[in-house]
Symmetry: D3
Subunit: 283 residues, 6 copies
């Protein structure tokens, strides 16, 4: 289930346009132009061939409509909904040459985004019954971040920061360069905007202690801790800062980590290793 | 081992620039700008944390140099070379703020491309000792195709067509729309350029027979055939057309399929399901 | 005094390039090309003709270097520093035709940004001796927001959110559409990312009371309140949420408003009505 | 009253698109997407809250329609018309989320352009009853020049050259570099196109004398002259060249300067210091 | 007669948009905006004033519709069809100001492309009755290649490779750098994709002999041969490789060269020296 | 001989970059990458193979340097200078792969621009000994106008307006729509900027008479007149307006037309039908 209305097409369209231009190459779809009569018309269905969570339907729709504004496109299964093999997600009808020219881009985008939504949903399911939320990272595909962040939402997850300018995340290198936790948090307090969140990475309970004593961060990233340490960190932080567990958060560990009461588990694999959901276009 | 010189930076730079702008967001790296003194200097190493085949070093270099032309960057392990955990692939030194701002984009690009090169190399290894070549498809990440196609080369594979305009590939839908194999090949012969290859998909030996009898294609795509059928198809086609096996070509099947003598095995998973190779930046 | 290192040129360059192309028009600087001998060389100084706070030097430098990479450019007074009439802010030497072609764009950008920094500094001065900070809004010049936000920093102010995606700011229309303060905060809590700040606008102490009782916002925007009401609101909010005063915040009121102990005063006029600081290029 | 039909949307759209992308940021309007139900519909009015001259309606319309082509938009008061507080300039109805996402960009553009038109109209009013025309300069906001030049027209003013390539304007630096007024005008005559105007700046009656004696310029810029000198210059130039007064042309001086019979008064402040006209969106 | 359906507008539109922006300049069509009343409506006809072959109608249509989506445009004579003086190729009706603003770009594009189609058709006519095909080269106008390659198709010709990446063409410099014909072909065989054609240039029968003996090329470019040598080369190559004659292929020689049985004659002049077909817009 | 310094690279670079991307296609120069060893170095000369006037050297230089900033490039014969067969115009040395990849774009641009300069010079030569100047029109190649206008200058010609916004040119359609010569000139006078030229087309001496009587135009376009009528028109207009002869101005007529004393002869063929000057790259 999606919790958000779609993005304005204005944001998604340049990404899809770029993908189409990349695939069309210099001269468009020479195969189709060579062998398909101009007046051949198709009614096609974009079908799921595997079970999962749907995402990328907005991008797929734009792939077809940018190639040919006269195609009739009907989204049956919206972004964020589940699918099972054989479900028709979208119907497209109109000039055959147009449908064939847009097919691969539409499938590449929808398959990849549905893969991310599906993997996210699998992680979310492991945390069910707890208040722990699943979140992504910045380990996204260059050029497709907004679509992949949306796919995480479609899978029931939450978004971490979108880019380097919309939140402060102080990592070990920053702490080292600034001379320790206290100085780094004081420098941050002096310069930060009140409209931006501050998160700081800690590797040990001693570091967490120092962060809590210093103040100035709203979120702590509990990095690469074993589950016991994590549980103690969560207890220390409760009511003071939001907690986020990170590092080696495999699907198998989610239930156990969520049981510690941590607020968020962040997982790079949601976007960097999701694979694609098997989708196909049938005529 | 790479068989090709690098692409001109002119081609790769817009992709990396786009990725940096996406990650910098409206205001650049606010964390670094807030906490890292402007004159802090780092010497960083881009290290492999897993065994594999390296790709994306050109893109990583550009990520650093576009953020800060004054960084000193030295590529130690070139695209196409193997790596083992702990290998330093690249060294970067200069302003700490610059290195940190470019880090994620460099890692996202190099990790993804090295993942593809590594997966390709694994498939190539299974075909070793035969003349069969491993090739990719158009199931690439939208916006990154040229880098992913390069990564396949770096893994020892070969490229299929780059886009819809640089080769003709006649699939089942085209055959159906044109009224059969003979008419589709005749239409193609009448209109094709002499500088463009023609490949046609066949699902059965009967279809292959008809293609060979009609002429007009240089490559046949043997789609979704079991290994026995494939072997017979290869025998039929030998000396007449190039053969390419496709559909359900898992890593486990490569050796067996290569043993049929087929010229090429094409595998969408090389690019759509490769995951990333674990790389990290150490200071 | 500036608290931040400069933005990467990568972010500023496209804005300056666009401005240069706009001013060069189809055929470049025809006057200069017509009457200035190609080998005439100038040494020019960018001088302040008024007292103020300097901003836009990075953009001015890029204007000159994009027109002619061979110009020698030396920034004497950096962004964020004060200036008095007659101060030389930058020296530029090289081909006269290049300096003249870039002059107007450099002055337009630096004059405008210095105007914003100067107006910001005037407001900051009125709040001196208190902990109240001066902040801007989204009422910036379309296309120049990042430079104007930087200029506010250079004037000693702080930045509000950069765009619609990097913080949540719930205004009266949002409250009305969602059915009231409690429902809007609950909807926000359910969907918000942990890396994004939530601010809510209140027009009365009763609304503030409800916000504090409901929780879920880190910042309250105290809109269009008289100074007494503001003082009571600040007292109510202390230790619970960050407070921001907004609406009719003229320069004359800043000292009085800051005396209430409010954390931030936000002022659209900093960017939408700043005018330009008088700068000139002397040869 | 506007004297010109609107620009083609083709020219204005990229500017508005750029402004929207800047304001939407990476992820669009997260506030609205979080709290406004997708099916909420609004009827909004863009109202004037101050007296003035309207400009920027074309840009405002495009801001709404680019975000959502399904919005119904009706321009009530066209560019170039006067407004009084409370006047509804435009009505917009449709998805609430779309209207809210475009609101700030529409207001920023229309407020700024109406501010310029209003300030221009104030200057034009001071010259009423004379043949003197008010004109702008190149001191415009980088990236918005065409809109600002239009706003000057909407205020009843005239445009000076649009960019460095559409007219020749010989200033003191050019004269110095070329070796004086006679050589600079001779060099110009030899190289100029017949389709481009030549204007030359003079600071004294002696310089004007030399320009008139040499010929080759159609317009003289009478720079920084007191009113008496200006009057004598106008008398000398009458019937020979068009005259333009420039430098320190404050609103208070316009009537007196216009009384000299000068053809044009050019005023940088029209665009660089106009402020915004107070406009608001009411639901 | 055209053998291909039109390109997707997606490919052609950016070229036309760029051309319109170039011609509109900073401020649009000031003449029309100054003198044509906004409600004047025209019905215009795009007429041929010379005999020839039509191309560029898609681009012309886009020029009008991008300027004004409300224009009614009807293409009477499609790309690839012949025309005689007086033929109406397209009708356009709607706002006069829109039609006049797009006129020059539409004519520049359609005139140039029809010129190429017409020159191509003249060459094709000389080869009539033979199986020899006329093909273009990469000597196209920078930025307009796809339109010019289409124009060659509209004239009855065939396309050579579109760009440097969609076919391998080994010229004398490549052969020299690689150490001869055998090594260059072996290097190619080792690295080439199976989806890309290989052509090699030969200047003598001895070189052709070596190419045929070595194998690995599908096409030979017979460069600058006299007709007798060409005839012998064609005989040698028959049934083994496709032959292409190149170099000094004037219109006068086409019939004689075609009589040798060569498969293709490639002619740079088709695109680099075609001139324009005289077209005009009548009201 | 050129009368103008070169354009800033800032203006020319995007055109050359676009041309290179068009020619490189998806994957760069696959031939060179396949067969040229990475360390092969060349010293190449760009040679004239015909007599003419050189233009496009700036663009050619950028083609090489954009592909490879490490190439050493030396321009021997500058834009605007004459050349004879065998002249070396430019030397380029460095990586062979880079030189070969940029070769075609450099030649296409330089050949085309030198063709225009050469044709212009031929027309200029016919007017030698008179004061008549040769000028181009807006019948330029879409996307290359600025380069072609420069080429006209390099050939000794003059530029007409660059685009629709930098001068007013009132043609027959405008006159008809506005209700005649007097009303069109009055409407123009009321609305025109003082920095823009006004030209009006006349087809007869009666029309010229009316234009001269009405005033308000600085240039008259004498369209499609025979030489006698032209001579009388020039006599009528002398000392009042600049005269431009247009329509059917073939090379053969130039001397005769120039003898009438007309100020300018405008010739669309300079840019739309110039062909290319034969240039080649030798190694």
């Amino acid at each position: 289930m999606t919790r958000q209305p779609p993005l304005p097409d204005l944001i998604v369209e340049p990404i899809v346009r770029n993908a189409l231009m990349e695939d069309l190459g210099s001269a468009g779809d020479v195969t189709t132009r060579t062998v398909i009569p101009a007046d051949t018309r198709y009614a096609a269905r974009l079908n799921a061939r595997a079970e999962g969570r749907v995402s990328g339907m907005q991008a797929a729709r734009l792939a077809f409509s940018l190639i040919d504004p006269d195609l009739a496109i009907d989204t049956i299964v919206p972004d964020g909904a589940p699918c099972t093999p054989g479900d028709t997600l979208m119907t497209i009808s109109g000039r055959a040459a147009s449908i064939l020219a847009a097919e691969r881009v539409a499938l590449n985008l929808a398959g990849r985004m549905s893969g991310i939504a599906t993997l996210t949903a699998a992680h979310v399911a492991r945390a069910q019954g707890t208040a722990t939320r699943i979140t992504c990272t910045r380990k996204t595909t260059p050029g497709l971040r907004i679509l992949e962040k949306q796919a995480v939402l479609h899978g029931g997850g939450f978004n971490h920061r979108h880019n380097l300018s919309d939140a402060i995340l102080i990592k070990d290198n920053h702490i080292a360069a600034a001379g320790g936790i206290r100085p780094v948090l004081e420098a941050t307090r002096a310069a930060r905007s009140h409209m931006i969140r501050v998160e700081i990475e800690v590797d040990s309970l001693a570091q967490l202690e120092e962060v809590l004593a210093t103040g100035g961060a709203e979120v702590v990233l509990l990095d690469n801790m074993d589950t016991d340490t994590l549980a103690r960190a969560v207890t220390m932080a409760r009511g003071k800062v939001v907690t986020e567990a990170s590092g080696n958060m495999t699907l198998a560990r989610i239930a156990e980590v969520a049981a510690t009461g941590v607020d968020y588990i962040s997982i790079g694999a949601l976007t960097h290793s999701a694979g694609t959901l098997d989708l196909g276009l049938d005529f």
